[in-house]
């Protein structure tokens, strides 16, 4: 707590007008949050009220503090005034710089407070939402609820990063000019944020009733299916199993998202455009993640243990020849899959 106290203390002893501007900023952010949340019927508005109350109380306290500090400050400068203008200016500059830094540090903590309502969940809620993400709903006549919450999606994305890292390591993926870690994080967060904002943009064009927060939550929970499928198929190398899971588990989670989007969109063309794009992106992403970091090891295994090559022949000559060939074909496949995914994501 010692670290939080220091910047806060610095900001408190700051003068009035600066603080007022800062305060308005925070309030503005708060009201924006409430606006976003108002569309959502499951938001915890009581939490925000508490936050605002807390903020106001703190404001009063700070005003009192600031008045006391200014008095002391005046005495201090008055005494120094005998020694000339220079020291006063230097002190003033240092004071300004310190205040700016302190308010910046404090705004970081204030931002955490702004984000906090999105993490206001219970374990049971997260569990039920994870299960619900695999159960498509039938009723599309009235808008379905989407909980605006970010804990579940964020944790699912981190889980996906870990699973992807595991897949990359077991398949001996080599990435030039980059680390596996960075690639995994970039892929997962890029997909989550990129596709969410793209679909949100499409939803705006198609006049669908959805906010960015809800879109992030919807797509984030949709990644639960991906996590299950990838975790199983990175460890059990079986093509038929992957396709079965891809259709069943991936399909169910996609269907859920599509059903929710359909219930919030009006008009068949808009529904088709929005849901077709989302379904295609979501399913192809799973396909890409599986084959991009799995095909390499499969290709090598096929050449080494393929039934049509007699074991006697391949021992001295074929392995050095076959290995680069397999790697090349796998690399080509990998590159094609990546290019397809990139074009799909960017469109």
């Amino acid at each position: 707590m010692a670290t939080t106290a220091a910047p806060a203390g610095g900001a408190r002893s700051g003068a009035g007008p600066e603080w007022g501007g800062f305060e308005e900023n925070i309030q503005g952010g708060g009201s924006a949050v409430i606006d976003m949340e108002n569309m959502d019927d499951t938001s915890g508005s009581s939490f925000e009220d508490m936050g605002e109350l807390h903020q106001r109380l703190r404001e009063e306290e700070v005003d009192a503090d600031a008045a006391a500090a200014e008095e002391e400050d005046g005495d201090f400068l008055g005494m120094k005034g005998f020694k000339g203008q220079l020291s006063r200016q230097v002190a003033d500059q240092m004071w300004q710089a310190g205040k700016r830094q302190a308010s910046r540090a404090f705004s970081l903590y204030a931002n955490i407070d702004i984000l906090r309502p999105y993490f206001d969940v219970e374990p049971a809620q997260v569990r039920s939402r994870l299960l619900e993400s695999m159960i498509p709903i039938k009723m599309v006549n009235f808008p379905q609820k989407i909980a605006g919450e970010l804990y579940g999606p964020l944790m699912l994305v981190f889980t996906l990063v870990a699973i992807l890292l595991h897949g990359m390591k077991t398949s001996d993926t080599i990435i030039r000019e980059g680390t596996l870690m960075g690639t995994a994080i970039g892929t997962c967060f890029g997909y989550w944020l990129g596709v969410s904002s793209f679909i949100y943009f499409l939803a705006y064009l198609c006049n669908a009733q959805i906010t960015m927060l809800q879109m992030l939550a919807l797509l984030g929970y949709g990644l639960f299916g991906h996590c299950i499928v990838l975790f199983i198929t990175y460890n059990i190398h079986l093509h038929a199993l992957f396709y079965l899971f891809w259709l069943l588990v991936g399909g169910l989670s996609t269907l859920r998202m599509v059903a929710v989007l359909v219930s919030r969109t009006v008009g068949p063309t808009q529904r088709l455009l929005l849901c077709g794009t989302l379904a295609a992106l979501h399913m192809l992403f799973l396909l890409y993640l599986h084959f991009a970091y799995h095909k390499v090891v499969e290709g090598i295994l096929d050449t080494l243990e393929g039934p049509d090559i007699p074991p006697m022949q391949r021992v001295p000559r074929d392995i050095p020849a076959a290995l680069p060939a397999a790697r090349l074909s796998a690399a080509v496949l990998n590159a094609t899959a990546k290019a397809v995914a990139v074009t799909l994501q960017s469109h």
Partner: protein, 195 residues
């Protein structure tokens, strides 16, 4: 005058460098003991430091480094990768616990998470020793056993320190990322093979 000197002595300005270093090392060692025997204690939380986590993280990263510098096979864990995973992971867990409403400061949480890597660093040491022996399924089973035990130890130790700072109904949510974090590190340790 005498009282003045005594006052001067009690400050750390006047003492020899050796004393200062020994005192800090003792503090770090005491915290290591707290991790090895996790009990309900606030030592790790009250006076946090980042020396222990730094030492552990660097040791782990150095041991996970492969000896060969082969550009073809650079899929193995590298120093920077381990370093980034440890610090990025710890910062993420800390932010998450703050967002969930935990009353723990940023550096306290970093300190606890960093010190609780100690069992995994020990596991890495054991694994490197075991890997000197003949490779085979028994070798792997031994490493698997050691890593699982040390993984559980890390989880137990970190939750013993961190769980109290969370609201009681949300402990599971705060512990899941901790679990993921240590799981990734222990999995890296288990799959490590020197070239």
């Amino acid at each position: 005058m005498r009282s003045h000197i005594r006052e001067f002595d009690s400050s750390t300005l006047n003492e020899s460098v050796q004393n200062t270093i020994m005192r800090d090392l003792k503090a770090v060692g005491k915290k290591f003991m707290h991790v090895l025997y996790p009990r309900k204690s606030n030592t790790l939380l009250r006076d946090w430091d980042l020396w222990g986590p730094l030492i552990l993280c660097v040791t782990l990263a150095l041991m996970l480094q492969r000896s060969s510098i082969d550009s073809e096979k650079d899929g193995g864990p590298q120093f920077a990768e381990v370093f980034v995973i440890v610090w990025f992971g710890a910062v993420t867990i800390t932010l998450n616990s703050k967002l969930l409403g935990g009353n723990i400061s940023f550096f306290q949480s970093l300190c606890v998470l960093g010190y609780c890597i100690l069992p995994l660093t020990v596991a890495m040491l054991v694994c490197r020793l075991v890997l000197l022996a003949e490779p085979g399924p028994i070798n792997f089973m031994v490493r698997l056993f050691v890593v699982i035990v040390m993984f559980a130890w890390s989880i137990v130790a970190s939750t013993a320190f961190l769980a109290d700072s969370q609201p009681p109904n949300r402990k599971a949510l705060a512990i899941y990322p901790v679990f993921l974090f240590y799981f990734v590190i222990s999995w890296m340790i288990l799959t490590f093979t020197p070239q």
